[in-house]
């Protein structure tokens, strides 16, 4: 992680980060713009802008591809091109986020395409489970609007879409990441030139995104899915933010529990018992905070057993603390992954942009190996004892209540109301 880096704060935004990476002659670009879409209608407007831009530049460009996506607190554009076309891509990028000339007919057609796509997306079991988890843990919070609602999409006009950047984009706090097989200073020059016409809009800053509430402790619920052959277990517990001093130790503890295929969860539930194909523990990061997540999918018939083993492994993080060998393996894996997983330019660009999305300085990533090396075994053991107690976790089990045995078990579950019931 020592190759050259260009880091420039342009006067009207954004911050430009350029790095040289890649085995092939390509450039990867990620733009993260804080943007306020905290109402279902605002999210529908932003979603349609993203759809129009993706259609226009994802499909027809000879030189490059751009795709956009919208969330309740950010607007993101991702692009790639042969490295010699980088200037062109950046010029287009500057144009689309300041003056997206979306026409009424273009909007109508994108809406026609978007509605069935969102319907398909909402039909996937993992989308159903994740939506229920958010409704259960954060009722009423904008994070529960996972996709734009159809009625809202029908109410959006092209004028609103065109006006969105001026109204909602906080370009001053935006971050542009360029990872390309080229000199970073050259890439930054291209970005600076392309973006020189950016002017902060009259309403210069979007309000800071609404704080994510802490995860309550010990609130489990069932999402009844009659006929579901496979159950989805989704657990969350309050953790610490990425830039907290305790984060690296907790990160290693989470790896020991379920960060990879030789972790405790995977060995027990997959390699020993055969209950799951995949099980993992991970960080679910948001601006200013992060949650510990534990996810597992298992056949209806093994739901109770898998849930009991998950809980037992959480408990064991305290009663059988991570050993020196486990900590060493987790640390080597984490450090190795920084090299292996982030070697592709696209992966590095996305990782940096994700940090910006979580309101963390992306350069945190480049310093993370140093912080990982400094963690002591004692800190990992303490983090394991403090954060993984099963009673700290809340979440849902999306399952057939009969075949999964959840109706007859002695576990106490609330019921998550289904939005369609």
């Amino acid at each position: 992680m020592s190759t050259g880096l260009a880091d420039r704060a342009l006067p009207a935004g954004p911050r430009v980060l350029a790095l040289c990476r890649g085995a092939t002659p390509m450039a990867e670009v990620r733009l993260h713009v804080p943007a306020d879409a905290r109402t279902p209608h605002a999210l529908a407007v932003a979603t349609l802008l993203a759809a129009c831009l993706s259609a226009r530049y994802g499909d027809k460009g000879e030189a490059f591809e751009l795709t956009a996506s919208a969330g309740f607190r950010q607007f993101a554009v991702s692009g790639s091109c042969p490295v010699e076309r980088l200037g062109e891509l950046l010029r287009t990028l500057a144009e689309v986020v300041t003056d997206p000339a979306v026409r009424e007919d273009e909007l109508a057609w994108e809406r026609t395409q978007l509605i069935p796509r969102l319907r398909m997306l909402r039909s996937y079991p993992e989308t159903v489970a994740s939506a229920a988890l958010h409704r259960h843990l954060f009722p009423g919070h904008p994070v529960t609007y996972q996709t734009a609602e159809e009625e809202e999409l029908h109410r959006v006009s092209a004028a609103e879409v065109r006006a969105l950047p001026a109204h909602a984009f906080d370009l001053k706090r935006a971050t542009l990441v360029v990872v390309a097989r080229t000199d970073p200073e050259h890439a930054a020059d291209l970005a600076e030139k392309a973006l020189s016409a950016w002017r902060p809009p009259a309403r210069a800053t979007a309000p800071a995104s609404p704080d994510m509430p802490p995860v309550p402790a010990g609130r489990m619920a069932v999402l009844p899915l009659p006929g579901a052959p496979q159950s989805r277990i989704r657990l969350r517990a309050q953790a610490v933010a990425t830039d907290d001093p305790r984060y690296p130790a907790l990160f290693l503890a989470s790896n020991v529990l379920g960060g990879y295929l030789s972790s405790r969860l995977s060995r027990n539930l997959r390699e020993e018992k055969g209950y799951v194909y995949g099980v993992s523990s991970f960080f679910d990061a948001h601006p200013g905070t992060a949650y510990l997540g534990v996810d597992a999918d298992t056949a209806a018939a093994t739901t109770g057993e898998a849930y009991a083993e998950l809980t037992a492994e959480l408990e064991r993080m305290r009663t059988a603390p991570p050993t020196d060998a486990e900590i060493a393996a987790a640390r080597t894996y984490a450090l190795g992954s920084m090299a292996t997983r982030l070697a592709p330019a696209a992966a590095l660009a996305s990782a940096l942009a994700d940090l910006a999305d979580g309101d963390v300085d992306p350069l945190w990533l480049l310093d993370f190996p140093r912080r990982l090396r400094a963690v002591t075994a004692r800190q990992v053991v303490e983090a394991a004892a403090e954060f993984f107690a099963p009673q700290r976790f809340s979440g849902i089990v999306a399952a057939d209540p009969h075949t999964s045995g959840l109706l007859t078990s002695d576990l106490t579950f609330d019921t998550v109301p289904t939005p369609w019931s």
């Binding site: 092939t24 030789s262 209950y275 330019a345």
Partner: protein, 431 residues
């Protein structure tokens, strides 16, 4: 800055026991990749899903090893995985460059003798069932693969479900696994590929030392899985209770990829022109003629371009609204195929499609896992690992005539059509 992967030299070598070795040095990141391709996939199995189950079992690691393969790779800072395709099973590891010899030793140990127990067989059969539940019991799960194969093909080898059949995987024995390993996982039926930040000389020395003493066994005799092309349109139907919208998948037989890689590249460019996104020819025509939006995909190869021996297929899928009859989609496809066969693609259109293919190839190969796996599969299937670096040129050389020829080969009177009947979301549609 000028040295790119495309210029990296590829070294080929064969050990005394028949193991083919490919080494490609490319030092843009301090990472090494290892792939082992065994020349056996699900096409040659007798039990539906056996090759896939065996792939899982190989992760128990070598006999006598203190730990399974995952643990030994991950605790060295790397990651590993595997896949089972028609004609090969590939295992790959990506590690920090200094761990290269460590993973070579792990691959050599499990090539010499894997650790397979009855308990592991039972557990992995259950893991495979969980994998299939997760991938298939979801909207559009198993669509088009493995559901399209039995519509286009007749023989068990080509038509059966190679992902895994629940019932067929019950009762697999250790003896059956040992026989399969002995017959199909011999060094002479394998390709070892090493790529990334590696020294060619030292790598070859390490390979000789670690793999050279694995006893030679005969490779299974080459079998032809050829069967006649469908005489007419073969129809199939599948119900999908979770899918919100209807869909069709169209499968066409294609020329032998080993005999004509250029024809496959033209078929791939044709797929990009017809159905790479909403602005492609097929969705554009449906929008123009019917005012409806469809979601389309198309590709040459059941899983990927140049990824199998003969026979393979060209696939197109379209998810369409209830109010658009599937026949309209097929008519639009045939109209576009006819137009391209008669006049070829427009020059600008061809240029864009070639560029799109080239770009997506480069983006994919920036991932060392993809690079090392592609080198290995091209060696195993076609004895031509250099195809990996020549692909961008081959895309660039594709002509209007070749694409027209590709379109002409996808005949409306010889194809498989799988219709997906959705069970969900009809009440939404009424709103």
């Amino acid at each position: 800055m000028s040295a790119v992967a495309a210029e990296a030299a590829i070294v080929r070598h064969t050990l005394g026991n028949g193991l083919r070795v490919v080494v490609a040095e490319e030092r843009s990141a301090p990472v090494a990749g290892v792939a082992v391709h065994y020349g056996v996939g699900f096409r040659s199995e007798a039990r539906s899903g056996f090759a896939h189950l065996f792939e899982h079992l190989m992760f128990q690691g070598g006999a006598g090893a203190p730990d399974d393969h995952f643990h030994q790779v991950e605790s060295a800072g790397g990651f590993c995985n595997a896949s089972t395709r028609q004609d090969y099973t590939d295992f790959y590891d990506v590690v920090p460059a200094e761990a290269l010899e460590h993973v070579l030793a792990l691959e050599a140990a499990r090539m010499r003798e894997p650790k397979i127990t009855q308990r592991a067989v039972r557990t992995q059969a259950s893991v495979v069932k969980e994998e299939i539940l997760g991938k298939l019991r979801r909207p559009y799960g198993g669509f088009p693969w493995p559901k399209l194969s039995p519509v286009l093909f007749r023989t068990f080898a080509n038509a059966h479900d190679g992902y895994g059949d629940h019932a067929a995987l019950d009762g697999v024995t250790v003896a059956e696994c040992a026989e399969f390993f002995d017959r199909c996982y011999s060094p002479s039926n394998a390709v070892l590929t090493v790529a990334g930040d590696v020294d060619v000389r030292r790598t070859l020395d390490a390979v000789e030392r670690l793999f050279g003493s694995i006893p030679a066994r005969p490779a299974p005799a080459a079998v032809s899985y050829g069967e006649p092309e469908p005489d007419g349109v073969v129809e199939g139907e599948c119900a999908d209770p979770l899918a919100p919208l209807p869909a069709i998948a169209v499968g066409h037989r294609v020329p032998d990829p080993a005999a004509s890689p250029r024809a496959h590249i033209a078929l791939s460019v044709l797929a990009a022109i017809l159905a790479s996104n909403a602005a492609s020819r097929l969705p554009e025509r449906i929008r123009r003629d019917h005012g409806q939006a469809v979601t389309v995909t198309a590709r040459a190869g059941l899983f990927d371009l140049l990824d199998a021996r003969d026979p393979d297929m060209w696939i197109l899928t379209a998810v369409h609204p209830h109010e658009l009859d599937r026949r309209r989609v097929l008519d639009a496809l045939d109209a576009e195929l006819g137009a391209i066969a008669a006049a070829g693609p427009a020059p600008g259109e061809l240029l864009r499609a070639r560029l799109r293919q080239r770009t997506s190839h480069h983006r994919s190969l920036d991932h060392l896992a993809n690079r090392v796996r592609m080198l290995g599969r091209f060696e195993l299937l076609y004895a031509d690992p250099g195809l990996t670096t020549r692909l961008p040129e081959l895309f660039d050389e594709t002509t209007v005539e070749e694409v027209a020829q590709a379109a002409l080969g996808l005949r409306a009177d010889s194809r498989a059509v799988l219709t997906l009947v959705p069970g969900a979301g009809k009440e939404d549609e009424a709103r």
